[in-house]
């Protein structure tokens, strides 16, 4: 049985060579050597004829077994070498993950736009439409229709940029409300729910708290049974959405030409929660808007019968809301467009 012993030696030698093999080329040569047509195993096979008939089948089976084993070993080795090669390749592709990522440069909306859109979305959700009007306005809509007749001392309160006797830059978005009232009445509608955001102008010198140009958002609701309490409910809803769910509002009597009764609306301070701080000047309350029930004269001038419909109106300063919300201390920042300022408002809130 020398042949069998030879075979064991060949197998042992082959297994060792395969396991020691370091690259694909050498592995291929081993495959050719041991599994090809010329090689030590083929050599041994040639001696099979010297074996007895009884011995031959076992010998043949043994050779097949060895060939299969070596073939499997070679394939395993090939897989192993491929994995190793890939690992080495990847290692060479190592990144320094501390290097800066590529952050796409994105812009954002102006803070006044952010507040305006927030207000629009809030009221659109309540079923309001968004109405706009010209900034170059006529005296009629800015003053007359708003119950501020010529020579009325209240016109002293609004220092106006006049263009000529009849035209001016609107001093409040109330002018838009007056146009809407007229339009809805002409369309025969007795139900109005609009907000009117936009730019307005006053003849003020610009400083930290005054701007000759600023933005307002006014609201107007007209219907058959609109009450002052509805105004309170609506503004309470708005205050909670804009400044937080735990906010409450209070009304203080005030005076506007186009509303009666008129109120100033305070919201509980969102900084201190009402305890008193520098933002609310120790009072716990912050004045955010003016409002009231639409004056019967205003309804009448637009063609409505004040005995049939009533309504409320309110107006909020967009800069004022933005300044409170973000703690901005100088109104001029909104119009300087310093990129350092503008980019502060880059988060979704």
């Amino acid at each position: 049985m020398k042949t069998m012993e030879n075979l064991s030696t060949i197998r042992k030698e082959a297994v060792e060579k395969i396991k020691a093999c370091k690259d694909n080329g050498a592995l291929n040569q081993l495959r050719i050597l041991y599994l090809g047509k010329k090689g030590p195993i083929q050599e041994v096979m040639k001696t099979m004829k010297d074996l007895s008939k009884e011995e031959r089948p076992a010998f043949g089976a043994k050779i097949n077994e060895i060939k299969q084993e070596l073939s499997a070993l070679i394939e395993d080795r090939r897989t192993l070498l491929a994995e190793k090669e890939m690992a080495e390749q990847m290692e060479q592709e190592k990144l320094d993950i501390t290097l800066s990522g590529f952050v796409p440069n994105v812009g954002n909306l102006h803070p006044l736009t952010i507040v305006q859109q927030e207000l629009e979305d809030l009221f659109v959700g309540l079923g309001y439409s968004v109405a706009e009007g010209p900034e170059v306005e006529c005296d009629l809509y800015n003053f007359e229709r708003a119950n501020i007749p010529k020579d009325h001392p209240a016109r002293d309160m609004q220092d106006t940029f006049f263009i000529n006797v009849e035209e001016l830059l609107r001093t409040h978005t109330t002018a838009v409300q007056m146009r809407q009232l007229e339009k809805y009445h002409e369309e025969g509608k007795e139900l109005i729910k609009v907000i009117c955001p936009g730019k307005v102008y006053r003849r003020d010198d610009d400083d930290a708290t005054h701007s000759h140009q600023f933005m307002q958002c006014e609201g107007l609701v007209i219907g058959k049974d609109i009450q002052l309490s509805d105004l309170k409910g609506t503004l309470d809803f708005m205050a909670k959405k804009m400044f937080g769910e735990s906010r409450v509002i209070r009304f203080r009597p005030s005076y506007f030409q186009f509303t009666e009764p008129s109120v100033e609306v305070d919201v509980s301070c969102h900084i201190c929660g009402g305890k008193g701080c520098s933002v609310c000047k120790g009072t716990g309350w912050i004045e955010i808007l003016g409002a009231g029930m639409v004056h019967p004269n205003v309804l009448e001038m637009a063609g409505y019968d004040p005995n049939v419909v009533s309504g409320f109106a309110f107006g909020v300063g967009i800069e004022r809301v933005a300044m409170l919300k973000y703690g901005i201390d100088d109104i001029r920042n909104f119009y300087t467009n310093d990129l350092r300022f503008l980019k502060m408002f880059n988060r979704f809130e």
């Binding site: 440069n105 909306l109 900034e135 809803f237 009597p253 005076y255 467009n337 990129l339």
Partner: protein, 800 residues
């Protein structure tokens, strides 16, 4: 307006309320107290007598005083130059809290000092109200001041507390202390008693020689009265204290009476020295053109619109604003002429404004005077002159014109008021409030009839009464409800949506939204792009920089670019959406201005320059995103707009309408605005809003492979790539199917290795059919067709 505790205490008992309680309740009722001021402050004060005063042994200005405090004597070191033995003084004892801090026992340069002898300024008295003497040293009290008195401030009448009340324009009646007292009484629910002097001026006097006439239609009522004897002297203490609380200087009894009456009734009065008047003929005039030197010594230019009080044709006062020096009340005055009149508020406003003379009188005329104030004032003045100025020799009152006053009565309905407010006020509580407001309510079932007092000219309609009720009853009674009305659909309109979409696309792509001013300079109007014609100018601009309503946005954005570039910011991308205006015209525009890089990562070598093509691409993207693309958009060379580089600017058309102009800024304009490397565009959003946008459309995706072919050729330098691409598009048809999916330019080259006047273009063209796989032969044919066409149409030569 200023009203003090002493003022109010004349008319009602408020001794149980602190000044802050009063302030809070007045504020809650709509008269906002903007400040509370104490006339003076200090605890542990007493009146002392300086027994001895010796120079401090170790100082050249301090004195060592022994001071009798009534129950004991203390040594006090005092630095005031005017301190002297025998004086009665205000002493702050050890432990006293003064505006400047607490007084402690101490030793000053070796001498014990147990207290401080005070000046009025140290006790918080407004220095403006003090005499020079009082300002410069300790306050020296009269010789009979009670030693040991524990409240020297009250002794001096300096213990008042003053409310500064901000009045809304409908409540200017409260400028008058009497009306303010009525209001306060109603708020605090106190009984109010005003001085009774009705008819005092109407008592029969001697026949008068005074003649009054008006040649102006701006003087509806003028009352005059001669009093032939008055005694000029010091005013009584109460009057001086009230004037001080109102911030008015005491002069003498007669002048003070005119001021007190104005403060009480709101009616300005003027008293003339009768003997200083050239005659007893007073004429109210306007249409004068002259100069006049008033009480303040300033000479004013009088215009025809001004109302003047004249005597013998010469002005003796600017009506309702200021009297003259010649006839003012002096210490020597023996007889006086009283004037109480109504002048038209607009005229007074215009004159006061032009002359920059906002006097107590002119302010009251401008804000409106209640209709009965003139009569009340004359009565009150006569009563006070009789009592405090020994007035005698009264002549009949001369009255010309009338106040045209009819008392107003209105009837309101409680259920309607409750419905307007959303409240449940009961009849008894409503009647109580109306009573407190002196509206004399008379109930008739659910109706209430009211008589409106003359000073409440703001109460006209039911809504006014509703407001009166809720402000007095309190807004805490108001519930929060939501309107009960049919459901409405809230939505943004097309314009509002477009605006939002553009803002979103631009900001997502690195562009920052800006908001700039509407009012601009003439230069900026001249530089506006896509500008509306006929700019609108302000009648009275505040500055050259803000005199005209802008007709385009870009010049303003350039200002913002300059601002940021001046702060070393290189990479800038700004946009603004705004209305622009021309005479009778309004458009909404979008302006974009960029500079530097849009995207950048230096270590990765990424740099997207903010150049012409970035701007062009952004405009294409914006249009595409809102439904405008393909052949509807055309680009044309623009060389007309002076703001742009003549060879780097284009106009974008939607159909035949000009939609936008874009390009690199002209170097001259860049210099003018102090900016560098700016590319900008102005887009007229109206064009997009007018035209129909394409909708999203599903298309079958080809199942067959796409094939890319690179073409490189040489053309003359002035051949436009756009024409080349259009030519390829036109000829890229196989069996009538357009098989060109995309044309991508990947190289444009001029320079070395190129014949002069020629450029090399390299394109990659993507072929794909939706009906079959393209064969090699078909592709080669297509390529040949394209190259032949390019050769014929643009003279292209295939590069070897």
């Amino acid at each position: 307006m200023l009203i003090s505790r002493k003022w109010l205490s004349q008319y009602m008992d408020i001794s149980d309320l602190s000044i802050t309680e009063i302030a809070d309740r007045i504020t809650a009722a709509g008269l906002e107290v903007e400040g509370i001021e104490k006339m003076s402050e200090g605890t542990h004060l007493t009146i002392g007598e300086v027994l001895s005063c010796e120079d401090h042994p170790d100082s050249d200005h301090l004195h060592v005083c022994q001071v009798n405090l009534g129950d004991r004597a203390e040594q006090i070191v005092c630095g005031a130059p005017n301190v002297a033995a025998g004086q009665r003084v205000i002493v702050a004892q050890v432990g006293a809290k003064l505006p400047g801090g607490e007084i402690k026992a101490g030793v000053i340069r070796g001498q014990a000092s147990n207290g401080m002898i005070c000046s009025l300024a140290e006790l918080g008295v407004d220095p403006h109200s003090l005499s020079e003497e009082s300002k410069n040293g300790i306050e020296v009290l009269p010789h009979d001041a009670p030693i040991g008195h524990k409240d020297p401030l009250a002794y001096l009448g300096l213990d008042d507390e003053i409310l500064d009340v901000g009045l809304t324009p409908n409540r200017n009646d409260c400028m008058a202390a009497w009306a303010m007292a009525m209001e306060t009484g109603a708020i605090l629910n106190r009984e109010v008693k005003l001085p009774q002097c009705k008819g005092a001026a109407m008592q029969k006097g001697n026949p008068t020689e005074l003649q009054v006439a008006s040649e102006s239609d701006k003087c509806p009522l003028f009352m005059g009265k001669v009093i032939n004897h008055v005694t000029i002297k010091e005013s009584p203490k109460w009057m001086k204290e009230l004037l001080a609380a109102a911030g008015v200087k005491s002069i003498n009894n007669v002048v003070d009476i005119s001021n007190i009456v104005m403060l009480e009734t709101g009616q300005p009065m003027h008293f003339y020295d009768k003997d200083a008047l050239p005659s007893l003929e007073i004429t109210v005039k306007d249409h004068m053109k002259t100069t006049y030197t008033a009480l303040d010594g300033v000479t004013y230019e009088i215009e025809p619109e001004d109302i003047m009080i004249t005597n013998q044709g010469k002005p003796i006062g600017i009506a309702g604003i200021m009297g003259g020096n010649d006839s003012k009340i002096e210490d020597t005055t023996k007889a006086i002429v009283l004037e109480a009149a109504i002048f038209h508020h607009v005229s007074i406003r215009n004159t006061a404004r032009r002359l920059n003379l906002n006097t107590d009188a002119s302010v009251r005329y401008q804000k409106g005077i209640e209709p009965l104030a003139t009569y009340k004032a004359m009565d009150r003045a006569v009563a006070l002159l009789l009592e405090y100025a020994d007035a005698s020799g009264l002549e009949d009152t001369v009255i010309i014109g009338s106040n045209h006053y009819e008392p107003i009565s209105i009837t309101v309905n409680l259920p309607r008021i409750n419905h307007l407010l959303g409240t449940d006020f009961s009849m008894p509580e409503v009647l109580d409030v109306l009573q407190r407001l002196s509206l004399e309510p008379v109930q008739n079932e659910q109706n209430i009839t009211l008589t409106i007092p003359s000073y409440r000219q703001d109460l006209r309609i039911e809504a006014d009464i509703a407001e009166e009720l809720i402000r007095i009853i309190g807004y805490d009674r108001l519930n929060a409800t939501l309107p009960t009305m049919p459901a409405t659909m809230g939505a943004l309109d097309a314009r509002q949506q477009l605006r939002r979409r553009f803002r979103q696309v631009l900001s997502d792509n690195g562009y920052q939204e800006a908001i700039t001013y509407t009012l601009v300079s003439d230069q900026m109007i001249e530089d506006a792009v896509m500008a509306l014609p006929d700019p609108i100018h302000l009648a009275a601009p505040m500055s050259e920089d803000r005199k005209t309503v802008r007709t385009g946005i870009l010049p303003s954005l350039l200002g913002s670019i300059a601002y940021n570039q001046n702060r070393s910011v290189k990479d800038i991308a700004l946009f603004e959406i705004s209305n622009v205006y021309g005479n009778n015209q309004m458009e909404e525009h979008l302006a974009i201005a960029i500079s530097g890089s849009l995207q950048k990562s230096r270590w990765q070598g990424i740099d997207v320059p903010a150049d012409f093509y970035a701007m062009k691409g952004m405009l294409e993207l914006l249009c595409e995103r809102v439904g405008f693309s393909g052949k509807r958009l055309t680009w044309k060379v623009n060389s007309k707009e002076v703001m742009f580089h003549p060879y780097q600017s284009a106009a974008l058309y939607l159909g035949k309408e000009l939609l936008a102009i874009l390009g690199t800024i002209h170097p001259a304009a860049a210099k003018r605005y102090g900016v560098s490397n700016v590319v900008m565009a102005e887009i007229n959003l109206e064009v997009l809003l007018k035209n129909k946008a394409a909708k999203v459309k599903y298309q079958l995706m080809s199942k067959y492979p796409a094939v890319n072919q690179d073409l490189a050729f040489v053309v003359a330098e002035d051949v436009k790539v756009g024409d080349i691409m259009a030519c390829i598009e036109r000829h890229g048809k196989l069996e009538k199917e357009n098989i060109i999916q995309q044309i991508e330019v990947f190289d444009v080259y001029t320079g070395e290795h190129m014949e002069k006047g020629f450029k090399s273009i390299a394109l990659s063209v993507c072929f794909q059919s939706s009906v079959k796989t393209l064969s090699e032969k078909e592709i080669m044919q297509m390529r040949e067709t394209i190259l032949t066409s390019l050769k014929e149409e643009v003279g292209a030569k295939l590069r070897s």
